[in-house]
């Protein structure tokens, strides 16, 4: 789960990571009031769950009340990569002497929490990794013992030769690690970490991605979810335990299992179609999941045909068929449906589907070829 910069900073500060003075606001009036309180310059920063806010004009510096008002007005409501800015973070200006990159992730290869630091602060770390990998230092941490002082010093020493400053950065890094583990993050990133002209070490920007698998043991993190950015369908899917990702194509698909769902998308493409979504209804069978899936597909609106691809193992085909029946409740489907149902309780499912006049196939290739043809109006 992605969270906003201002939320990440609230978490960081509670673990002793220094951040600039700032406040989240949702109106121009509030923005100006906070700016006046802080004094100028202030940064007016859009809070959207997407990268590249700066380039999109979503982060501006205001030197006076007039500019604060102008910037707040222009950024609130702005569209950044399809997301509407509804919140601003107003932050006190900082006198920057140096900028660094400091991040920690769970590395899949070493299977350990792993730090990456670079003196190339403020630019995209993937770019640095591609062009000048020697300018990034990586260090894996033993999750049982946590980060040692000597490791924090080693990372900090890669950034600066100034031993006093390295000591402060090392402390910063230790606090960052504590934040990372305490909130079950999959990524905690400070870019840039800045050193001010008077030697303070501050997280100027801040990013935390929370591990979805960790959410169950952090009840308080649910309130960090920005439901406005998620959209109602995604919320429905999440609550029902479905995985849903909308796409640009016109063939909707409802599949049991993430691997099979990806495979179905690939197959649609392979046979000349374009998938309208990724939608995994998961393993255990429940008609409610199917009706929710149908609701999501309908809400998305860009589908010309719908494919069910179910390989019944734990999922019972008759449960899926019942879900489809329920979803239409006697009415004719508003878009053409192709049904592939095979495996557990396949025969029962066929009967149910026949009762609502939807034919079923058992072969995946055939089903996908058919839905592609149907979507093309064939």
């Amino acid at each position: 789960m992605k969270i906003h910069e201002y939320q990440a900073k609230e978490i960081f500060v509670s673990f002793g990571v220094t951040i600039p003075r700032g406040k989240m606001v949702t109106t121009v009036q509030e923005a100006v009031a906070i700016a006046e309180e802080f004094g100028y310059p202030v940064a007016v920063k859009s809070q959207v769950l997407v990268g590249g806010r700066g380039k999109a004009g979503g982060i501006k510096l205001a030197k006076n009340k007039n500019e604060a008002e102008q910037h707040a007005e222009s950024i609130l409501g702005m569209d950044i990569k399809g997301l509407t800015v509804e919140r601003l973070l107003i932050e006190e200006g900082v006198d920057i002497a140096q900028e660094f990159y400091v991040g920690v992730i769970v590395d899949r290869t070493t299977r350990k929490p792993t730090f990456m630091v670079s003196a190339e602060g403020g630019v995209e770390i993937e770019e640095v990794a591609r062009q000048t990998p020697e300018r990034i230092k990586k260090l894996s941490i033993d999750p049982f013992s946590g980060i040692f002082d000597f490791q924090a010093r080693e990372l900090a020493s890669f950034l600066t030769d100034d031993f006093q400053l390295a000591g402060r950065i090392a402390d910063f890094i230790k606090n960052l690690y504590r934040s990372f583990t305490a909130c079950d993050a999959s990524l905690a990133e400070i870019n840039p970490l800045v050193v001010t002209k008077d030697g303070q070490v501050i997280a100027l920007d801040a990013k935390i991605n929370l591990d979805d698998n960790g959410l169950y043991r952090h009840q308080d993190h649910e309130q960090l979810r920005d439901k406005s950015e998620e959209g109602p369908s995604a919320a429905d899917a999440r609550q029902m335990g479905l995985s849903y990702i909308p796409l640009e194509g016109n063939i909707a698909c409802v599949v049991n299992g993430a691997g099979l769902a990806m495979c179905t998308m690939d197959l649609i493409k392979y046979y000349g179609g374009e998938p309208a979504n990724f939608l995994d209804i998961g393993g255990s069978s429940s008609p409610a999941k199917v009706t929710t899936a149908m609701k999501i597909v309908r809400a998305q609106g860009n589908a010309d045909a719908l494919l069910f691809n179910i390989f019944g193992g734990i999922t019972r085909c008759d449960d899926v068929a019942n879900g489809i029946k329920e979803a239409f409740a006697g009415k004719a489907p508003e878009l053409p449906i192709v049904c592939r149902l095979t495996g557990t309780n396949e025969e029962k499912a066929k009967e149910i589907m026949a009762s609502i006049n939807i034919p079923t196939l058992t072969d995946m290739d055939q089903a996908v070829q058919k839905v592609v043809a149907v979507a093309k109006g064939g």
Binding site: V106, R108, T109, R111, K112, P113, E126, A129, P143, F144, T181, D184, S186, D211, D212, N213, G214, Y216, R217, S243, I245, L247, V255, N256, G257, A258, G259, L260, A261, M262, C263, M265, D266, L267, I268, K269, Y270, P275, F278, D280, G283, S284, F311, G312, G313, I314, T315, T342, G343, T344, M364, D365
Partner: protein, 290 residues
């Protein structure tokens, strides 16, 4: 022969009294798996499908001599259940439960290694040696004994692949799903290595997906260490970057983990990669004929 489980494997079920645990216990028994005990704290002394239930893995193991445990316990208890199994000396732990926080896996993985045990999963469908032993939730009836090893990061997609193989007369030595999480107890290389050493296995089907670099590492391993043919399938070619495709591990991030890279790596290791599952049996037959 086979890998990891066979007709001698003695299985206990952690979470045997739960909805999934009790259902699949019966399924495993029906398949012929030697299910020798179950564990649910506080339910010791009861029975499920005629199998005795114990309060702890240690008790179940000492009473039954189990060497394998399959874990269906709810997410809140699963990490403790895994440690309990390893502490009790269980050699193979198959974790069906989904949703273990990745930071817990960073601890579990080295711990299990240090104890010399093996974990398959988490978030996996389990493992089956057709005709001998089924551990997990895989549908038994689609499998047939034979010379093909199947290893996959997926569940239902594995069934699809196995179904295709069986239909074309290609039986399986062992099939297993290693799970869709970023950190898995057993990875492709562990399985490839075991299949390479297994006398029954003549060819291997590897079913990968986007995210991470496990497939690339597998390709490297195949090039260096395998003389048995391997056929690949990589799904997620059409997946958009930055989106988690269901599985916690199936995500293209920072431009890494794309299907293209994985296919290229496998191809350069001499592994024919199927575009779609139905091509797999043909590719396997070709490889076996060479």
């Amino acid at each position: 022969m086979s890998i990891f489980v066979d007709k001698n494997t003695k299985v206990i079920v952690q979470g045997i009294t739960g909805r999934d645990g009790s259902f699949h216990t019966q399924q495993m028994i029906d398949y012929g798996t030697q299910v020798v005990g179950g564990v649910t704290p506080g339910k010791g002394g009861s029975e499920v499908s005629g199998i005795p239930v114990f309060n702890s893995v240690a008790e179940a193991k000492s009473a039954s001599g189990a060497d394998c445990s399959v874990i269906y316990v709810p997410i809140r208890f699963v990490v403790d259940a895994i440690y309990e199994a390893i502490y009790a000396g269980i050699e193979l732990v198959v974790v069906i439960t989904e949703g273990i926080p990745t930071l817990e896996m960073t601890k579990l993985y080295p711990f299990i290694k240090s104890r010399g045990s093996r974990m398959i999963g988490p978030n996996c469908p389990g493992i089956i040696t057709p005709g001998e032993c089924k551990v997990g939730i895989l549908p038994g009836h689609i499998h047939t004994p034979g010379p093909i090893g199947v290893v996959s990061r997926s569940g239902t997609l594995t069934y699809e692949v196995v179904h295709n193989l069986s239909k074309e007369g290609l039986g399986q030595s062992t099939c297993l799903g290693i799970g869709g999480d970023p950190i898995a107890g057993t990875n492709f290389i562990d399985c490839l290595d075991a299949f390479q050493k297994d006398a029954q296995t003549e060819a291997v089907v590897l079913v990968g997906e986007i995210g991470g670099t496990d497939e690339e590492q597998a390709a490297e391993f195949i090039k260096k260490n395998m003389d048995k043919p391997v056929v690949g399938l990589i799904v997620g070619r059409t997946a958009p970057p930055g989106k988690r495709m269901g599985h916690a591990g199936a995500i293209i991030s920072g431009g890494k983990g794309t299907a293209e890279e994985k296919i290229a790596a496998l191809t350069s290791a001499g592994v024919p990669v199927a575009d779609i599952p139905s091509q797999i049996p043909g590719l396997v037959k070709e490889a076996l004929e060479e």
